[in-house]
Symmetry: C2
Subunit: 387 residues, 2 copies
């Protein structure tokens, strides 16, 4: 398929556009066009939970090559509130990120963070984890909130099936998500310049995933996400599910694997035809002292770094990785300094963006498999030897 070019043939109905530039095996090199800018795919989206990518200035995030960030509907609807953000000119202006933003539906975090949540056909009733105040999140309200935020790519409200899940409940949950997807689409209507993505559910069951993917395509979305993974099923099971789910999705729309993941997950999923990712891992792990590097994971809290004058990675083009000593980074973590989180969030997001850029270049050059092998080899060789 290398060199094959596919384009969304209907650019008149929406300013959202996906162009597939190259393929290499199942891996895809594409571009999403939106009024606020284009997104080179495969893309990793840094997570800007509550209107900020934690411990990063927005200019830094952009400087790393991120074309898009993710905002969390759940966090923003609770604080400062979607109407408040809208009154302030929308999320882009609020957080000083003029480039594309994707928002989730809020559903995942309602289930993982809120109190006293109760799902019904209508939606999810819950209490804020911040102050206990009561909310009802329906498909329509989620789309309303994402519109108030001004999100460029919006997600349908779905129920993220837990893992493990028996087939019966997985099927019921997937069908509820499909009905909510239809309501989300109806609520979204036509919004030129904005996009709405459906989310494939169905747990680890191929026929359920197929039914979900088909049902969503009957409704029709600008892109399709794969939900319900990275919830404890493990990397082998995730790959197995991706192996049969990705081919169920249209070739001419983006495919987004939600909440994934580790660098090795990104490699595996791109190899299976996924175009977009988001995950808190680079920033959350960074705040806890874990670095992602071409050597694999490096825990800077480890005492082996205490007297090591060498940088995290002398070849990195990120100052956080190449200009500060491991001894200093270790000290900052031990001392609980802000700069510890600032530097390692920066270094990790840099590594993630560099990894995506490397994959994009490799796909263009038809050497994705070689790139993946070399990258995994670096991780397996591990960190530089202690002094």
């Amino acid at each position: 398929m290398s060199g094959q070019k596919l384009e969304n043939k209907d650019p008149m109905t929406s300013k959202f556009k996906f162009s597939l530039h190259e393929t290499d095996g199942l891996a895809r090199r594409g571009e999403i066009s939106l009024p606020r800018g284009s997104i080179q795919t495969p893309a990793f989206m840094p997570v800007g939970t509550a209107g900020t990518v934690k411990a990063m200035y927005p200019e830094q995030v952009r400087g790393l090559g991120a074309d898009i960030v993710l905002g969390n509907t759940y966090h923003l609807m609770l604080r400062p509130g979607a109407e408040q953000v809208a009154a302030l000119g929308g999320l882009h202006r609020f957080m000083r990120w003029p480039h594309p933003i994707l928002t989730d539906s809020g559903g995942f975090q309602v289930m993982s963070l809120s109190k006293l949540r109760k799902i019904s056909e209508d939606g999810v009733a819950f209490q804020s984890h911040i102050d206990g105040s009561k909310y009802l999140l329906t498909p329509e309200r989620s789309i309303e909130i994402q519109g108030l935020l001004g999100s460029d790519i919006q997600m349908v409200l779905d129920e993220c099936t837990p893992f493990p899940c028996e087939k019966g409940p997985a099927e019921s949950s997937m069908e509820l998500s499909l009905r909510w997807a239809k309501r989300s689409k109806d609520a979204f209507g036509e919004r030129p310049g904005q996009a709405l993505f459906g989310i494939v559910q169905g747990s680890v069951y191929e026929d359920l995933r197929a039914a979900s993917a088909a049902g969503l395509q009957d409704i029709g979305f600008d892109g399709y996400a794969i939900g319900g993974l990275a919830v404890g099923e493990g990397p082998e099971e995730m790959k197995r599910v991706l192996d049969f789910t990705a081919p169920m999705l249209p070739e001419n729309t983006p495919r987004y694997l939600m909440g994934v993941g580790r660098p090795e997950d990104l490699l595996s999923a791109v190899a299976r035809g996924v175009d977009m990712f988001d995950c808190v891992m680079p920033t959350r792990s960074g705040r806890h002292g874990q670095a992602f590097t071409r050597y694999g994971k490096v825990n800077l809290r480890n005492a082996r770094h205490a007297a090591d004058p060498r940088p995290l990675d002398e070849r990195s083009t990120c100052p956080a990785a190449s200009e500060y000593s491991r001894a200093y980074l270790h000290h900052l973590f031990r001392a609980g300094e802000y700069l510890a989180s600032m530097l390692l969030s920066w270094a990790n997001l840099h590594y993630y963006q560099e990894l995506m850029a490397g994959m994009r270049a490799a796909i263009e050059q038809g050497r994705f498999a070689e790139f993946a092998t070399q990258t995994r080899k670096g991780w397996e060789e591990g960190d530089i030897a202690p002094l």
Copy 2:
């Protein structure tokens, strides 16, 4: 005195040099020359407690116009340890600050932070507040530590007299500090390119301050600090003590008011002939939501900012103050985000450096009094009206 020029006439014995360029009333415009760079005075030194100015990248600190930062001997001797920093090439390399660094003696924080401290003629025995391990800080060990850190301007170990303090104990304490100052000087010896400052004590008593200042000058130091202020005596008493203490110090060496202070304290002290300051206030207050501006103090946690799209100060040249909305800053503080502390530490240090630059320019132009009046007027007029 405007236009008077004084210089240290003995540049052969030390590469440390202080040049007094201009005076305006008692206010002094000068320059400290050190091998690592020059310091324009009056100068405010951001505090880099444990080898980092909290929530700031070193490049940002430099970018604000800071010529020098302060490092805390107490924090660094406990973690990572002075010998460790020396083995890593010194504090400048460790924290990536190639410009001048002033270190305190450690004495002040031993008394305020450590456990089970006991003062004797020899020094201060104490237990670390981090892990309870035991240390003995003597004048000689403090100088040794500051040398290991590679500090450009080192401070003698002194006892910071508490407030209030009866005259008898204040006199005994001041005399102990004088004996420690002599031992510090002996330990320091000759270190070309590095400087040692004495510290005037004597609480609020003019004759004790005079005896301290005279005793220190008998020993001979590169600069003289005024210690034992900003310890609860209040701004009026501080000004009264400065009024009689500053003239006791040589004209041709820098005068450093330790641990001060609020912007109004800086104005008052420069007007009384002080050249150098350090204080955690801009960064510590910034982490707690309090901004220093040309309008005076602004508490961004206050609900009046929640829906305010205006920046902290539209005329500021600091992006943190001019490009983010008050509503966003308020949100970041409510949400406990790193970026809250990062932005307000930046904005506050910017304001402090801008205030110092304004004072320096005003002294050069012989309009310091006018500058002080205008600046105080801005603070008194207060913040912009709520929307």
